[in-house]
Subunit: 327 residues, 4 copies
């Protein structure tokens, strides 16, 4: 999972600008609501915008979705379609015609449930490139060639995800890449209820087990659309925020010049990591906070994402036709 | 998972008495070390002891085990054997001969990884009752009849675990019951590194999804040995402890009569749950903190527990013979 | 899995009587077609009928369903509803009101994919008994209390399925039992494309690993409805039928009085099992013939069966409401 | 799974030459026995040998192993070591030093249990390349860099396995490739009891779902060692062989000039496929014959293969050290 800092444009927007902007400052922000889904579109238009919001030039769409259960096929289908509409908008910027090949990449570790979203999505995709290539007569004219891979993570393969993807891209020569990844959120409120789509690729995390190489047009020579869903909060983040909340609370109660106020600031800085260490020891940096039914939730989310991608990549087909192809 | 409060006798001991005691106060505590495993035996001898340590009369053995990985079969075997020795001591108090039947019960929810320990153990047991009953000539004289069940949880079956087990006990008439359960720990330090064995049965948790009926000689008419391993910390517990640590830290720094000291106490009491709510919202009370590789860890722990139970229940067999029987 | 011989009433009907009968001979047979689903209802009315068709007095409904894929939610829903209608007819004979409790039993071995249908169905049911009992206000008036269990098989538990179910029935006191089981079919053509519903309970298979105790009103004191789906052909059956086909073929070509004809009959009798042994050695009697994608197929079938049972047991609810309850 | 025809050199040897040969005819065959394991080494020395045995020039080692159960760690370890010795012999021909990188490729479809051997092995390997590359100080000098991938199958990815592997090879530049694949056997007797090692790469199967591109030094520019285990018999093969056995049996009983003998030959040729069709319809060509506990067996075999590869690739380590690295 990528580190929280760079993940959610919508959080960046909250930190740095207004709920809606007209673009004069290099950032355009629009929000709308479809059924229970709130959609925020952040366009970073130029260097001015990049600086302001600390995100690369590009478009970032965030969907806040309601909770759904695995067997609630109606809601799942409805959310999939709204997600597909937004994804289509970003894909359209890449100017593909229906004969162009798309490679879908499911990032993450299938052995760690909340990180298994990407691989699970791959298993539910409508994969067609081999049919188009080897038995074209078996499928409709208008069907787009789609291929898919879950490359695994450094700890499982011993190889950089980027090394594997680059190798595949060199041989398959897709016209567009769509990456799916599970993210770490800062707030529990975002976990499993936010889908982010962006067209600036995926930035690297850090340390063994995370990606080091950026996946983007710059590194792969093909446009890269990233779909991310926050599925966990890092326990260290949670402990950190808990401490902040306590300290903030108390700061409110004492005068800024009191010697105690400086004590609070002291904790805030030097001693905080020590406190966090006391709480998490011996697992520091390796703990996840997840809802109990995380397995079920990953099933549901992967169904929504996969179905949305299938719809967006195969505009010529009905969902019911698509589902007959999914193995 | 049962609530943390009543779970670990070793924590109760830490709270209420010395590292070793001779029993004069109704509690005998012995600690010893075998290889890397520290073993603490707490005997609650009488009412005086019960009151002192807030645990029922009986024996509680706690093993602190080192971390092992799934494929490290040597360490797994070694820990299994030490665990088997301690389990045998408690079983011996039940005065079974080798012809008597044991029912092993794997408690917990197989859909929630850190709660799936019990069901996973059941899948790795040497089950023999049907062989003894239907094809006795197929197995050695000295083999004890063992049967096993993972009854599931209230949310899956719609039935109390106690109702299911009582029904089975009435029909199978075992001479001893061994229950395995995943517990919630108070400290991360205990998670996946402590095995507790007790002969006073299992106390109920509370609320839908937890057990309401005690599993014990009193409710089932058969001696009940409980094997428990803490596999998670509840996120609310962690947030709570984090706040405590901050407050403790600061209490140390201000004089007890300062108006700020009373502020700290105020937070400590009224406002704490409000703070916790802010941190965990909207998942309050439903969040688990686990190490990333919890799936792998459950595999390893279930191997250790199952293997230990197999050894303790089949004293006539070598581990290598036992493993040929496990399906 | 139960042995094929007694399983499919529709095969018995094929062997012993006409495609439709008016009941004069103790058997009434009706066939109808809904969409792509062919439905055959066989009523065995009296002893005369029992003798004729070699099945107990009762009603047997067989649905021949088209192949569907896992993500084809529309077809799955449609088949579920047709199945639910037929199941409701048989349930109605048990004269339940909506307050009466139903216990659903998922038979079979979850470690053997084609035998895991029953346990998989249990995981997809709407279970409500605990809600009705402990938090009645949380759910609608008209919701029926349903509980469910997958008891496992003799080889896993060391206990007769019948012993476990009887114990549960004694404690839970349900008003109706619905059992789901995977069957062995005689012909590949039936595998995964036939659903049978009957109200005469489940007859025992034989040998360790199979049931010995009948599950029926006679043994459990509660009406028992059985839902069965053939998911495999036993390899020995297939080899046997292959040999028959060859021999039949040749019998057609030689005159009945030729010495070769008697040779064919000889093979047919004495030597056949020897031939089968040669083919299957060393796995005789332990081999299954399944389609490659059996895992996917079990997922799909369990969805259809579970959804149909949910609909039939909760007439007061829409499928979309039901699915919100399924965990 | 690859087609049976080209798979087992030991079967080719049985068909075309003696149990042992000295090489005069271009083929050297040696057999030996270690514990319960029979080992046959077939060296195809030159064109003469190639023609005689219909296999490419190279070395083919076949181990006939006894049945073992999943928890029988002693036997698993012993077989792993014997397999490792033979694998080492073939690796040694590739003249690697300990600093050279090996890529292990787990072929097959993880959604089809008997075809999931390769992917399962990947999950149990000691993967080290990333450690050597990013944190070399964390591991011993003598540890060889190993990376691993399970590329999936055409039906899942829409890409040729060969295209994916070639891309990875171009980027990672390994010095040796080891491929693991599940094979189809001709006889049940071979299923799950034979391990074949060869140094001539993997030949393509045919049709969608199978490989089209050969994996070999010729296509990848790196030596390719193939490890194969037959895990199924195709149902059509079994039906075919069943018919043959019947016909052979009868041919023995009638004189070659009888008109019936020609009838038998007729069936043998034209009508056979028609008969097979009658038996397998509607699943023709898509049916597998497997032992009931195939899931358990794949677990066990993948443990043996993975452990053997780990030992052979890391001569500097004890198995116990290796297992501490396996995640």
């Amino acid at each position: 999972m990528n580190s929280v800092r760079t993940d959610l444009a919508v959080e960046a927007r909250e930190m740095y600008c207004e709920k809606t902007e007209n673009g004069d400052n290099g950032v355009r922000v629009d929000t709308k609501r479809i059924e229970d889904i709130e959609i925020t579109t952040v366009d970073v238009l130029n260097d001015k915008g990049e600086e302001r919001i600390r995100k690369q030039k590009g478009t970032y769409i965030t969907l806040d979705i309601p909770k759904v259960t695995l067997y609630d096929s109606e809601d799942i289908e409805e959310i999939s379609k709204v997600f597909a509409d937004e994804l289509s908008k970003i894909i359209s910027k890449a100017k593909l015609d229906s004969s162009m090949t798309v490679l879908v990449v499911g990032l993450g570790n299938w052995n760690i449930t909340p990180d298994s979203l990407g691989p699970k999505v791959i298993g539910k995709l409508m994969v067609t490139r081999h049919l188009k290539k080897y038995i074209p007569d078996s499928i409709d004219e208008g069907i787009r060639p789609v291929c898919a891979v879950a490359p695994g993570v450094l700890g499982i393969t011993g190889m950089e995800t980027g090394e594997i993807i680059r190798g595949i891209v060199q041989n398959i020569k897709p016209d567009l890449i769509v990456c799916i990844d599970a993210l770490a959120a800062r707030k529990m409120g975002r976990v499993n209820s936010t889908i982010q789509i962006g067209n600036t690729g995926i930035s690297p995390g850090s340390g063994v087990g995370n990606m080091r190489m950026e996946l983007s047009q710059k590194t792969l020579g093909v446009p890269v659309i990233a779909v991310g869903v926050p599925t966990v909060v890092d326990a260290a983040t949670m402990a950190n925020d808990t401490i902040d909340i306590v300290i903030e609370k108390m700061k409110g109660e004492v005068s800024e010049d009191s010697k105690f106020y400086s004590l609070l600031k002291a904790i805030d800085t030097e001693e905080k990591s020590q406190l966090i260490y006391e709480v998490l020891n011996p697992y520091v940096g390796d703990l996840l906070v997840t809802p109990k039914e995380v397995d079920m939730i990953m099933e549901t989310l992967s169904k929504i994402i996969a179905s949305g991608i299938n719809i967006a990549l195969q505009p010529a087909l009905e969902l019911s036709e698509i589902n007959k192809y999914v193995n």
